[in-house]
Subunit: 323 residues, 2 copies
DNA sequence: TCCATTATGCTCATTATGAGTATAATCATG
DNA sequence: CATGATTATACTCATAATGAGCATAATGGA
């Protein structure tokens, strides 16, 4: 066959572009997600302070290949589904060069091995406690973050900036009766960073004072990358059948629902959820029933692989003509 | 203030990650789009064979800053709205190193200066003639590409591969009565590449034979990057108010519609289109009327900037509970 | 004045959504 | 063994969003 080189285009030397640029170090960083029971977990290293990552090297056949290697080497986990997240660049911190980090999102189904609580997996709400709204609005939001952000807004020099800050905080965090938007994970983290409410902001600015928002910090910008990954996942599960990458081969609709809820950080309407899944024909019955603990047994379903071919994309938001 | 460094995270040297990686050359490439009348245009350089691009250098404050510089320098155009597209890496072509290219999508409103037909702007359908379905299915699809792809499928060794190829071609190009999906720009290009129907595939493989699909080729992987940009735009205009970046300050709904149609490569239902725009309150009347050539004068509208704050994101596809 | 042309208003059937209500199976247990 | 607690599934119903048209309103030019 002659497949296009995977993420690897040909770029023949051209006078304008090759060689005359400065070389930089390139890092590959992975946000690997799995859901256990009702916790959305992320694969970590170094005492849960970092995401698996490592430099992109010559020997790697491609970006993804390099990423896979590092993740496997550092965590022993094999990557399944992956997609590129974002490429970040930073100021000159590394002597004689710059660093760029290319981040990826990976999804896997972590089979729950009883007893062996792998410490490398951490609930992502350990890092973003304000993101879990499944049991209602977390008390730390009105109790801590809202007043802190309010204070930050007050600090502003002029009225305009102050109002702007207030509005931004209200919109991203859903204050003043505004609706909570679970997709704004990154914007919220960035706002807290600006307001110096996360440890990373202190560290980067060499400022003083304690971190005021709860939630574990991470090395470098890993927490930001994690936020980017969560945001992507929360956005994309709504129009692409991504959840199934996190599910075992057969599952009940409740399991599927719990997984979605774990990711979205909020509850969904049970009956309407199954209606949605069924009307979109995303799954098919396996014929088996689940042997579970309590309640009426549930049918087991499997993902209809055919969906991937049929509808590579979801739907339109434009009133297209047919013909 | 203390804004997060724009795309520039802090990455303190850590034993595992800094310095021990191989350095690589990083290129920045831009897909800059504007719509003139009813043509979606892309900014090109080097006789329309390349996208504006250049190496990422130390002096650049950030990726975007570097990109801006190159685009301005090579084309004289100032970038407005930009967003990152994708990061590609390639095999070792450049002596002693590898190259990575970080691509961006830029949107601008090119005011039509009568007479001065800037040759740097090219309709993107010059590169992807099979993507324009505004006047119905282009004849080159059933007339040329379908038989070619069919032939390519036949070439397959085993039946399985052959059926797979057929199905893939049918789905991405809408053969066998399947619906046309305008978002699959990249998949279509990649399929043509695999089937050796675009010039780039020949060049990269050092194979022989003429390019069989019409449409201009580009340097390196620029055409693929362009396809990525078009695909992103076609997908995203459906759920984000991106079109307005391409519009002048005031416009009629027909102009807006023509712009969308140019981008999507297909026609939309006029009445329903305005209903959609109005019900979503994306625009507001300026009070003026357009002084145009024919027909009843139309109201002029402007984009409601407030939308950007109100609804950072579109809507849900999950049956979320309120509370 | 009549027509081609574009703008706008409205209707109507069909689907999709948001919120519940009503049953149906299981299991643990008194 | 009947009773709850618990979870699965079926339906209902009002409202909103969509897909397709039909109808009417303004303009400029022939």
């Amino acid at each position: 066959m002659n497949p296009m080189p995977e993420n690897a285009a040909d770029r023949p030397p051209s006078p304008r572009r090759s060689g005359d640029g400065d070389n930089v170090a390139v890092d590959l960083t992975a946000v690997v997600v799995a859901v256990t029971g009702n916790q959305p977990c992320v694969l970590t290293v170094e005492e849960a302070t970092a995401l698996p990552s490592g430099p992109f090297e010559h020997r790697h056949r491609s970006l993804q290949a390099g990423l896979r290697r590092w993740v496997e080497q550092q965590t022993g986990h094999r990557l399944g589904y992956t997609e590129q997240l974002y490429t970040f660049a930073d100021r000159d911190r590394i002597a004689g060069g710059r660093a760029i980090s290319i981040s990826y999102l990976g999804l896997t189904c972590k089979e729950e091995r009883e007893g062996s609580r792998d410490p490398a997996w951490r609930s992502w709400y350990d890092y973003f406690p304000w993101e879990d709204h499944r049991a209602g609005t977390p008390s730390l939001l009105p109790g801590l973050l809202e007043p802190r952000l309010q204070a930050w807004a007050e600090e502003a020099e002029d009225t305009e900036t102050r109002d702007e800050r207030r509005l931004r905080a209200a919109i991203t965090f859903g204050f003043d009766g505004r609706p909570w938007n679970e997709e704004l994970v990154l914007q919220r983290y960035e706002l807290l960073y600006e307001a110096m409410l996360v440890e990373e902001a202190m560290r980067d600015r060499a400022g003083g004072g304690p971190a005021l928002a709860p939630g574990r910090a991470m090395i470098a910008d890993h927490r930001r990358i994690l936020a980017t990954g969560i945001a992507r996942l929360r956005t994309k599960i709504k129009y692409r059948p991504m959840v199934f990458e996190l599910m075992p081969p057969a599952f009940t609709l409740l399991q599927l629902q719990l997984t979605v809820e774990a990711l979205a950080g909020r509850l969904v309407h049970k009956q309407n959820f199954r209606r949605l899944i069924e009307q979109q024909e995303l799954v098919e019955e396996t014929g088996e029933m689940s042997t579970q603990t309590r309640g009426r047994p549930a049918k087991l379903f499997r993902f209809r692989q055919a969906v991937l071919m049929e509808r590579t994309v979801a739907g339109t938001r434009l009133p297209l003509m047919r013909s």
